[in-house]
């Protein structure tokens, strides 16, 4: 297993949390204290990062009363590329991975598919999660619940045993074929 993730090599934890939140929900804006709370990092470092990202044009800020609202800046020249990096490294997939870690030994392969994986999602889209292994449905749902709250989105897991998955592959099941032909974000394990 890798000891460093791509996300960790490129960005600090604070940057990851701030970018993950704001680029993960690009149609919404968040005020400072809300970002600090969700990022669960020090107020000082979060404020510093926000100021730098605004100065660089990655974020826009608007004042409402005495609150400052921050939002991803779609006019930023690398908006698309940055969104892609975040999605593939420390965005949603990373939060789901952290949530699944305690169950990792029961999971052969897990990935996100559907609109979140191919970048067509809007902020209200459910997260479609495939899990292949011998994990218990109830345990999985309970493990995912905190991530679901943090992301503000519903996570819809589909759990197949390895045997079920192999049978569907063999039968060239339409659903499995479709899922495998489209973009995926890997969460845990490797393709079977």
């Amino acid at each position: 297993m890798l000891t460093t993730t791509i996300g960790d090599a490129l960005f600090t934890k604070t940057q990851q949390r701030v970018l993950g939140l704001l680029f993960g929900r690009p149609n919404e804006s968040f005020y400072t204290n809300d970002i600090v709370r969700r990022a669960d990092m020090g107020r000082g470092t979060v404020r510093r990062e926000l100021a730098r990202m605004v100065a660089a044009g990655l974020l826009v800020v608007r004042k409402e009363g005495n609150l400052q609202y921050y939002q991803a800046n779609p006019e930023c020249p690398i908006y698309m590329e940055l969104s892609g990096i975040i999605r593939k490294t420390f965005g949603i997939a990373d939060m789901v991975r952290v949530a699944l870690e305690p169950l990792a030994r029961h999971i052969r392969w897990s990935f996100i598919f559907g609109s979140v994986a191919d970048g067509r999602e809007n902020s209200g889209s459910d997260i479609d999660l495939m899990v292949i292994g011998d994990v218990d449905f109830g345990d999985l749902v309970k493990a995912l619940y905190p991530a679901q709250e943090k992301l503000g989105r519903e996570i819809n897991p589909k759990i197949y045993s390895r045997k079920e998955w192999m049978q569907m592959l063999k039968k060239k099941d339409a659903f499995v074929k479709d899922v495998l032909a489209k973009p995926r974000l890997n969460v845990l394990g490797e393709a079977i």
Binding site: D126, V135, D136, F137, G138, V141, K142, Y145, E154, N156, P157, K158, I159, Y160, S161, E164, M168, D173, F175
Partner: protein
């Protein structure tokens, strides 16, 4: 949140009707038996088990003197999410039941195969909910199931 707070939003007040509650419990029991029929598809086993969960949650709500407002969407969600208030079901179980509700929505609209893991979870939860609702009624509203 209390059931009272949901009045007019998703619930309305009723007088609990013994025959309605008995019918719902009997239907749930029949559906749980059907959920064990291995000759039908996993999808249909899942569906009947889920239906039993809904009937039980509905019976619990009605025994408390409420029912879902027919004019508002999201009855299933309301019935599941009020189980903590109606029979004191623990939050973790409510989370799993709510996830089963979503599984059913997705399967209904996508036609995807319902995995065996979801079927067995749904059947197990229907059975334990039958037990929990009956235990609650016996303890708190025995006159409704005499």
């Amino acid at each position: 949140m209390s059931l009272e707070n949901l009045l007019g939003i998703s619930l309305e007040k009723i007088d609990p009707d013994v025959s309605v509650i008995k019918r719902l419990l009997a239907a749930a029991e029949r559906n749980i038996v059907d959920a064990h029929v291995m000759e039908i598809s996993s999808e249909n086993r899942f569906d009947v088990a889920y239906k039993a969960i809904m009937q039980l949650a509905n019976a619990a709500l009605q025994a408390n003197g409420y029912r879902t407002l027919t004019s508002k969407p999201g009855h299933h969600r309301t019935m599941i999410q009020t189980l903590g208030l109606t029979i004191g079901l623990d939050n973790q179980t409510v989370i799993v039941l709510d996830a089963l509700r979503k599984q059913r929505n997705v399967a209904d609209y996508s036609g995807d195969i319902v995995p065996a893991s979801a079927v067995s979870e749904c059947v197990n939860h229907a059975e334990s909910l039958l037990h929990d609702v009956n235990a609650w009624l016996n303890q708190n509203r025995p006159e409704l199931i005499k």
